[in-house]
């Protein structure tokens, strides 16, 4: 079997029951034990008032729902309290450094939120006549200009909804370009072992076979292995740069040259563009397509899992195949090219129903205007400076995976320094929660044992970095001093103790259902 034991332990230790004083009600001080909305007896409540017409008729006959739906409601004060109580159980970038490597949790300026909520953007219908949406089209055109200038690429597809969707867009453009050249038989996409999981998933999604490229001991693409695998069957390579070890691919120009020589295209995963924005243009490196996660480089909020936005910049070779729609200037105004005809005759198709994540475009554009060309360069410099500072400060107590030379925007450590302590990377991460910090990315990239990937971003002050490094140093010293229990039972002070993921996966309960031992509440009768 293809055995993977890289996964982390997922069942809480039997020992380590809460050492904290337990309340009588399940509350933890001001943190309430909050029930589900389905358990609040709100089957006949509502928090919205409508001015109903005296008679509501329908000619839909038996198309009308007669059975109860099963939806509880809450009055406004109850709803407010429910969701505010829940919110207090979350960590957030507004609370402390959020060092998730590769995820880039940086400050989200509130000006951007305010701008996205202007009625001219937030209350604008996607199919409103284009003569009534000229400001929106102009903004998309300006955003495209900034993205093209910053990347040195001639074209951009704005519509993909997130980074992974952007990867899909890039590979579809590559596939279309190969087919147009009579190269549709190319079946393979090469992906380094350190890649984000989305890369091989996307390649497979588009119907390609995935082959891995080996990595050198210093954490980069193995050029010899790449050269050996670049056969006439290869459609593309997908390389993240800076890569997921937080390192710049020194041979990137040679990688691009070899790829093009083999007739393949170079897809660059731009998840880490924030490390080089304003200093390096991917277009100068030989990239054919690259997605840009607007929430990473351009600070749109991640919202507990999304929405994102994943515009894809394209080389001249791929630009004709871009998905519809796109914006062009037309006389004194702008228009959307929406159909696969005329100038869009070669488009590979459509990625989304409308034009992409306009709400994210507004936020990202506000961020760009705020920083300007000088500020964006400073973003990359401070992000890299902060990461190297953490690497330098923590190297005495932890083991950097690649000690030689600088890192880019994130510092990668392995778990060799934990050997013999009885503490795993997971335990260490959970103990960070008790010290007030969100854990770093763990067990990724897969090429480093027990990986701990720390990305501070440019929006952390030196004081916060010192606070963070101090906390990790104290924890590292505690682990080495034999205080294993501090780690193996952690977290002790979070809203919840360690959760049993094995139980969740073995007996999935994905929706609320009335407990069989209790009397089910009666949903409201049909009207």
């Amino acid at each position: 079997m293809a055995m993977s034991n890289i996964g982390r332990p997922t069942q809480p230790q039997a020992a380590g029951a809460s050492s904290a004083h337990a309340s009588l009600t399940g509350a933890r001080g001001l943190l309430q034990d909050e029930a589900l909305i389905f358990e609040m007896d709100g089957w006949d409540k509502t928090g919205v008032d409508f001015d109903m017409p005296s008679q509501v008729a329908s000619d839909l006959g038996d198309l009308v729902r007669t059975s109860p739906i099963g939806l509880p409601g809450l009055s406004e004060p109850e709803a407010m309290r429910h969701f505010v109580r829940l919110s207090q159980k979350n960590h957030a970038i507004d609370l402390a450094l959020y060092p998730l490597g590769s995820c880039t949790m940086k400050h989200n300026p509130r000006l951007n939120e305010k701008m996205a909520r202007l009625a001219g953007f937030g209350d604008l219908h996607p199919m409103s006549p284009q003569s009534t949406t000229q400001g929106a089209l102009e903004l998309m055109d300006r955003l495209a200009h900034w993205l093209k200038t910053l990347t040195g690429m001639p074209a951009v597809a704005l519509s993909p909804k997130a980074g992974a969707h952007g990867e899909l867009c890039g590979l579809l453009a590559i596939k279309a370009a190969h087919e147009a050249k009579g190269q549709g038989h190319r079946r393979t996409v090469l992906v380094p072992t350190s890649a984000h999981g989305t890369n091989p998933a996307t390649a497979a999604f588009v119907g390609y076979d995935v082959a891995e490229i080996a990595q050198t001991v210093d954490g980069r693409v193995d050029l010899a292995d790449l050269a050996a695998k670049l056969s006439p069957d290869v459609a593309a390579i997908m390389v993240t740069n800076p890569n997921t070890c937080g390192l710049f691919e020194r041979d990137i120009i040679e990688i691009a040259r070899l790829t093009h020589e083999a007739g393949a295209y170079f897809y660059c995963d731009g998840a880490n563009f924030n490390a080089i924005v304003g200093r390096v243009r991917p277009g100068d490196l030989g990239v054919d397509a690259m997605h840009i996660n607007l929430h990473k480089t351009f600070s749109t909020p991640h919202g507990g899992g999304g929405p994102g936005a994943g515009p894809v910049v394209l080389s001249a070779a791929l630009a004709p195949y871009a998905p519809t729609p796109w914006v062009v200037s037309a006389g004194e105004g702008f228009k959307l090219v929406e159909e696969a005809q005329d100038e869009a005759a070669d488009t590979f198709g459509r990625m989304v129903a409308f034009h992409g994540q306009m709400g994210m475009f507004v936020r990202a554009y506000a961020y760009m205007l705020s920083h300007g060309t000088d500020g964006l360069r400073q973003v990359a410099e401070d992000a890299v400076l902060n990461a190297n500072y953490i690497k330098a400060k923590l190297s005495p107590v932890m083991t950097p995976a690649f000690p030689d030379g600088p890192c880019m925007h994130e510092a990668l450590f392995d778990d060799s320094w934990l050997e013999g302590t009885g503490v795993t990377t997971l335990d260490f991460a959970k103990a960070m929660i008790d010290e007030g910090f969100h854990p770093m990315t763990m067990y990724f990239p897969l090429v480093v044992h027990g990986a701990m990937l720390i990305e501070p971003t440019e929006t952390e002050s030196k004081q916060e970095l010192d606070r963070f490094c101090n906390a990790l140093t104290l924890l590292a010293q505690a682990a080495k001093a034999g205080d294993a229990e501090r780690f193996t039972g952690a977290p002790y002070l979070a809203p919840m103790r360690r959760l049993d993921e094995t139980l969740a996966a073995r007996k999935p309960r994905l929706t609320w259902r009335p407990e069989p031992t209790t009397v089910a509440p009666t949903p409201m009768a049909a009207e």
Binding site: L60, I69, H91
Partner: protein
Amino acid sequence: MRYLPLTAADRTEMLGVIGAATIDDLFVDVPAAARKAELFDLPPHAGEMEVERALSALAAKNRPAGAGPFFCGAGAYKHHVPATVDHIIQRSEFLTSYTPYQPEIAQGTLQVLFEFQTQVAALTGLEVANASMYDGSTACAEAVMMAQRVTRRKKAVLSGGLHPHYAAVTQTIAHAEGMDITRQAVAIDAEAAVLSAIDADTACVVVQTPNVFGVVTDVTKIADAAHAAGALLIVVTTEAVSYGLLKSPGEMGADIAVGEGQSIGVGLNYGGPYVGLFAAREKFVRQMPGRLCGQTVDADGARGFVLTLSTREQHIRREKATSNICTNSGLCALAFTIHMTLLGERGLRQLAALNHSRARELRDALAAVPGVEILTPRFFNEFAVRVPGKAAEVVEALLADGVVAGVPFSRLDPKAGLDDVLLVAATETTTRDDIAAFAKALKGRTA
């Protein structure tokens, strides 16, 4: 720069700790040929006031839906969103958190996702729902590919009433993955036509109700025919408020229901971000795309929630994942959940009834305009009308009267030969004055 906390003194001190002379020393791995010494040809940084001025000027060039009589639908709907919704989604703990990978400090997000999944399952009449997709169109494409995994067949039949953008997205994505997509001819009341296309190779049938022309269909017979052939029925809904009035997809035999959730809690946003709804029969749960939140207990035995069944997902399964989706539409799912919680069953039914009622009033008003023909036999809050001449020109003409009359079908599909078809929608935000203004303007322009 107001967003960058480091001072010049900090930077110098930190470089000293690192042992680097200048910041350039940290970029030594970048090939010399690619290092840019000069600033790029873009404007310099700007203060909050300047940025606000620039963006407000752009926003002012647009005509918001709320600025006057407005009748566009076609997959995105103008609804009222309670003030509470926007307040809560802007709380730091929701807005500025990441995907809940550390459940001990993400129970807020996780419990909301569990509530969202339960609400979506209830609305669609199915057993399980995921924690959201990007939007309705991508959810539709994902559903088709899921049907391929379940049935191990490659053919998908798309009804001619499916939103043309949804059909195009499905064709683009599912075709690239190797599926054979049959899109039936566009027609206003065409759902029954899928019956003749179902055969032993069919993985799924995709039917939209209410469809892009607003037609409401009982898909029970289509479900029976699909199941008899070993295929799945996928039901698409672009107006989530309709779940409050109409029979649910699950009740009518759907195996997968996908929908656009924008109508509940999410603004128009010129097309995004929106929130894709995705629900299915429980027996197919391991073939579902996207994140799933499940209930469990913590080390003290307290109930809690975690992301689960993640071995389906890209970060573990890599090239064997059910989908490549990673970031989804979490904050919009939160908005949906808050709005739906405020509505409750009582409020949702009222909202749906109100939408239906307004649309009927609109129908009556437009039917009285000479030369206008109502084309949709049974509808929820949106229907198609035939107008004299080209619908796109009628819409442009009515702008001069301050009325945004709807979506010309030709904008969605110029090749369908339905240039005189206009899609019009009414919601609870549509007033009687709006309807009167529309009818009057239309009469004036078409006379």
